[in-house]
């Protein structure tokens, strides 16, 4: 009984994770190819994917390493790129009441933009538990590690842009964003955040725009919520 439950839990997680896994393959292989050109062995890039598991910062790190950058510069850049996960972990934390410290520490390892997006949508539907969510994290992690290693062995033979796979993550985020728009307040927050994000990305280098726009968008949305509550209007009225 217990065993069956666990099996079903994992299967549901894997089913939810397949779009991410599919999208990770071309990305991971591209990273593997670059890493191999920068002098990494398949084992070295695979180990980096296991220990770090953060796509965009790994791309940046590989190019910085081949450019001879200092350790400290690479660490600081990586930190800046991945700081946005603070916001994702914070908003996920609401769904992990009563989880053990060990579970939380393991789950935290797999919080990426993609797993966050899938898990938060599923949690809000109310059909998700933390083991499902962990299965999504670990499944996407496995796909990432394997794809970077394959890339390092010979990913350059895969044609670029095959079957529109480079649009998979864009389509996933569009779809998940739609599913999150549960009322006017959310639409407003999304529009503010999106426009601010474009603006900041044009001004500042790197990806600080994600954090800045998310904070501005959520805070302004929250401001509207409070203003509306003060006016005594009903929730969802605008």
């Amino acid at each position: 009984m217990e065993k069956d439950l666990r099996y079903d839990t994992i299967r549901e997680g894997v089913r939810a994770a397949w779009p991410i896994c599919m999208a990770y393959f071309p990305l991971g292989m591209a990273l593997g190819v670059l890493a191999q050109k920068a002098g990494f062995s398949p084992a070295e890039i695979g180990m980096m994917s296991i220990l770090v598991f953060a796509g965009s910062s790994q791309f940046v790190a590989v190019s910085m390493i081949s450019g001879g950058a200092e350790v400290l510069a690479i660490a600081v850049t990586t930190f800046m790129i991945n700081l946005r996960h603070v916001l994702m972990s914070s908003s996920l934390s609401v769904f992990f009441k009563g989880a053990s410290p060990a579970f939380l520490s393991l789950f935290a390892y797999g919080v990426t933009d993609e797993s966050f997006a899938i898990n938060i949508m599923k949690f809000r539907k109310g059909t998700w538990d933390r083991w499902n969510a962990l299965a999504v994290n670990q499944c996407t992690n496995a796909a990432w590690v394997v794809s970077t290693i394959i890339g390092a062995y010979g990913g350059q033979f895969i044609p670029v842009g095959f079957l529109g796979i480079d649009y998979a993550l864009s389509a996933m985020f569009i779809s998940l964003l739609m599913l999150q728009l549960r009322g006017g307040l959310y639409v407003l927050t999304a529009l503010i955040s999106g426009v601010v994000s474009i603006g900041v990305s044009l001004i500042l280098p790197g990806n600080a725009y994600v954090i800045i726009a998310s904070l501005v968008g959520a805070t302004m949305g929250f401001g509207f919520l409070k203003a509306r509550q003060r006016k005594g209007l009903q929730r969802g009225a605008f």
Binding site: G39, T78, M88, A108, I174, S193, L202, V210, F222
Partner: protein
């Protein structure tokens, strides 16, 4: 070994990546959060998703430039409508990929 500092680099990257992921989960999950904070956090996911996707669709190049009409943004319209209509994540991804593939065959 690609770089004499390989272990130091990868170890350092692992640490600075893991801590921001771990800290809020580890401490916030054990706490009773104030109501205003929960309400604010409730808006974070939609804000993050939007902050990730908008520049992806409308900004490109190096240096970055605003390009409102490009394959990614144009394909986003039917993709979005399909997502609204079907509410199917997997279906939307496949439709988006197919449309993007067709579009980029004659427009890049």
């Amino acid at each position: 070994m690609v770089h004499s500092d390989y272990l130091l680099i990868v170890g350092g990257m692992a640490l600075v990546t893991y801590v921001p992921r771990w800290l809020p989960l580890f401490f916030l999950a054990q706490q009773r959060l104030p109501q205003w904070f929960v309400e604010w956090l409730d808006l974070i996911p939609v804000a993050i998703l939007s902050a990730l996707i908008f520049p992806d669709l409308f900004v490109r190049g190096d240096p970055r430039a605003l390009v409102l009409l490009q394959p990614k943004s144009v394909v986003a319209v039917p993709t979005l409508l399909f997502a609204l209509k079907t509410r199917s994540l997997g279906g939307t991804i496949l439709v988006g990929m197919l449309l993007y593939w067709i579009t980029t065959r004659w427009w890049t």
